[in-house]
């Protein structure tokens, strides 16, 4: 019996074998051309067409206040772009833009700019950066050719303008541009990862491979309390509007140095990115150097008592109302008679303070100024901070600087430095380093400065509080800061604004300030209010800044549940019936 193999048509095999051999050789030849001869060139072209290596931005850390309220957080978003096809006309792509304009919320100006790019044959055009996922999905549903999406993130500041100057903002690249966003950009930003997007022959992505996982940024918890911050901002804005002032700042700090509120007005909404006007996002509390005026007298008073050169029982004749110092005249805001040491400061007599300074001499005053931390940065965790200006002693004018410095001129300081100096009394002698970041705690290492050090004898501080600084508020220039049921220690300041080199001081432009702490006997917080260039009749720190201090202090003490002193509490009254219950 013949097998299957014995019955095959050999003739046909003889014809087919050379045919298949030739076919095989052609294929091998073509493969050799593609894989060997043109390998490098074709591989590069293929990778360019089918693989995109993209950076994956890490999730930015969240910023919380001390009560874990979110101040800044990052949410997913998508950036929508257009890649015009090689064969497509400009009109086709312009039509796509017109179709997407309402969906993406593009303004006419933005649409015109994009159309211009299409006409100039740009091959890649961003249509909308950081669109919400919902918007991106709506665009995706249209399934338009050439429209692509990049994963991105959007920074949200849920409290709007609150603490804007503290937080700062992010630039277009997602990097911190100001405030803590800038100072802690490395910590918050994390480390970016990378992905390869594989595309098909038509350029459509079909697979994403992660090469390196992005490491999310760390969260930041601040010492700020949103509620206290809100009171500070509201009352400051109210004060600016009431007195027609240009700008103002309020800082509230615990005696231990934790910043509870740091407000500047006018404010801006960081959700809209960087404001065009740089002055609007400048953190004046730490960046504005100004001559502090009478608030600086706290240093003169401390130098006087600490050195033992002036006693509380001494009196100063201020009846002339003015004093000549090196060809310049120092005047009082009103005519006084003979003032005691305490009254010199409670009435904020410039003449009396100059007389006190003359008994001290420049060296004693200069040393005290340095001890109180003027002329050096406080070490708060912002990236940049002004150090103020204290001229070296050998550059002091021998005939006038002593008197001028004693009343807060010829020195420059930031609001935070003045606050820190006043806080020395609140802590009974300790100069603290202010801090605004609670966690992570290693940020404490960012400054080489010691956290606290003693600069004043505790008894000196206590005496000055009891006999001078509470008198300022009880009977002196700070009376409008008086708060029923609480003892406040403070000092007013009214500084004429310097008009520039050789132009002297303005007689109409002032910086009004009030710095103090409450309750004086056991302080809960220290606060400074600075209001720049108030308009109208009220110009003095006691008239402009002290009432703002009182309103903020009242709200904050109530919020912190600090009860007023028993003997000064107002008699309780029943609550008024609601309107609908009234007869």
């Amino acid at each position: 019996m013949r097998t299957l193999y014995e019955s095959g048509p050999r003739k046909r095999v003889k014809v087919l074998v050379p045919f298949f051999a030739l076919w095989f050789l052609i294929i091998v030849g073509r493969l050799a051309e593609l894989q060997v001869l043109n390998h490098a060139k074709l591989k590069s072209e293929a990778q360019q067409q089918t693989r995109d290596k993209v950076e994956v931005r890490a999730r930015r850390g969240t910023i919380f206040d001390q009560n874990d309220r979110i101040l800044a957080t990052s949410l997913p978003a998508e950036t929508v772009y257009l890649q015009p096809g090689k064969d497509e006309t400009a009109e086709v792509n312009i039509e796509k833009v017109r179709q997407l304009q309402p969906l993406l919320g593009l303004t006419d100006a933005e649409a015109t700019r994009i159309i211009g790019l299409i006409r100039s044959r740009a091959r890649f055009i961003y249509l909308k950066k950081r669109a919400s996922p919902e918007t991106a999905d709506a665009v995706r549903e249209l399934n338009l050719e050439g429209i692509g999406f990049e994963r991105d993130r959007i920074r949200i500041y849920p409290q709007g303008k609150l603490a804007a100057h503290v937080l700062g903002w992010l630039n277009d690249e997602g990097k911190g541009g100001a405030g803590l966003e800038y100072a802690f950009d490395g910590l918050l930003g994390g480390k970016p990862g990378s992905q390869v997007i594989l595309r098909d022959a038509r350029g459509r992505p079909f697979e994403t491979q992660t090469l390196l996982e992005a490491q999310p940024g760390e969260d930041l918890t601040l010492t700020l309390d949103s509620t206290i911050q809100y009171y500070a901002e509201s009352e400051l804005a109210h004060g600016l509007s009431e007195f027609g002032a240009t700008w103002g700042t309020v800082i509230i700090m615990s005696p231990a140095g934790e910043i509870l509120a740091l407000a500047n007005s006018p404010a801006y909404d960081p959700n809209n990115g960087a404001p065009a006007d740089q002055n609007l996002w400048r953190n004046a509390a730490i960046k504005a150097n100004f001559e502090p005026g009478s608030t600086f007298k706290i240093v003169t008073a401390a130098a006087a008592v600490e050195s033992g050169l002036v006693g509380f029982d001494q009196a100063f004749d201020c009846s002339a109302g003015s004093l000549v110092a090196g060809g310049t005249v120092i005047r009082d805001h009103k005519r006084f008679g003979v003032l005691s040491f305490a009254e010199v400061f409670s009435e904020s007599s410039n003449v009396g303070t100059a007389l006190v300074a003359r008994r001290l001499g420049p060296r004693v005053l200069f040393d005290e100024i340095l001890k109180f931390g003027f002329g050096e940065r406080t070490g708060i965790e912002f990236a940049s901070e002004e150090a103020g200006l204290v001229h070296p002693l050998d550059r002091w004018n021998k005939t006038s600087s002593l008197e001028h410095v004693a009343i807060g001129y010829e020195v420059m300081a930031t609001a935070l430095q003045v606050l820190r100096a006043m806080n020395v009394f609140a802590t009974r002698g300790w100069l603290v380093r202010p801090r605004i970041v609670l966690k992570p705690s290693e940020t404490e290492r960012t400054s080489g400065l010691p956290a606290t050090h003693e600069v004043l004898d505790g008894r000196t501080a206590e005496d000055l509080i009891r006999r001078v600084f509470t008198l300022v508020v009880e009977k002196g220039t700070g009376l409008p800061a008086r708060l029923e049921g609480f003892s406040i220690a403070g000092k007013t300041g009214t500084a004429q604004k310097h008009l520039g080199a050789g132009l002297g001081y303005s007689s109409t432009e002032h910086q009004a300030s009030f710095v103090g702490f409450v309750p004086a006997e056991n302080p809960v917080f220290t606060m400074i209010v600075v209001i720049d260039s108030p308009r109208g009749e009220l110009q003095y720190g006691g008239q402009v800044a002290a009432p703002v201090f009182r309103r903020i202090a009242a709200a904050v003490l109530h919020y912190l549940r600090v009860p007023p002193r028993l003997e000064q509490r107002v008699k309780p009254v029943p609550a008024e019936p609601a309107a609908e219950e009234r007869p």
Binding site: T3, Y5, E6, T62, R69, I70, T73, S74, L75, P76, I156, P158, Q159, G160, L162, S226, T227, Y230, S234, E484, H558, P563, P564, R569, V570, K571, P572, V573, A575, E576, A579
Partner: protein, 104 residues
């Protein structure tokens, strides 16, 4: 060319070998398929977890926005007609007798 015909034993052995080979290949393919499927499932679940985490963050941000103090004050004063307490309407409780800090 003459070829030897297969015995029944050989055919059974060949069939058994083929069966085992097919079974092994099937098992291998099933294993690979299942491996890929489970990886897809893990990817899908991880994406879902990430999505839900983002959703939580979004809701937290929304809660924070809704509880922002200017909005709360606006609602309290504007819609609910609430006002600040008048002096004396806030009653401070006395600490109990014998509590630390109490003086007689």
């Amino acid at each position: 060319m003459v070829r030897k015909s297969w015995t029944t034993r050989e055919i059974v052995l060949a069939a058994a070998f083929t069966l085992v080979l097919v079974a092994v290949l099937t098992l291998y393919i099933w294993y690979q398929t299942e491996y890929v499927r489970l990886n897809y499932e893990i990817d899908r679940l991880q994406a879902r977890i990430a999505g839900l985490r983002e959703e939580v963050r979004k809701l937290e941000a929304e809660r924070s926005r809704l509880l922002s103090l200017d909005r709360v004050e606006e609602t309290a004063r504007g819609e609910l007609g609430l006002t600040d307490p008048r002096p004396g309407q806030v009653i401070y409780e006395e600490p109990p007798a014998g509590a630390p800090g109490k003086t007689r």
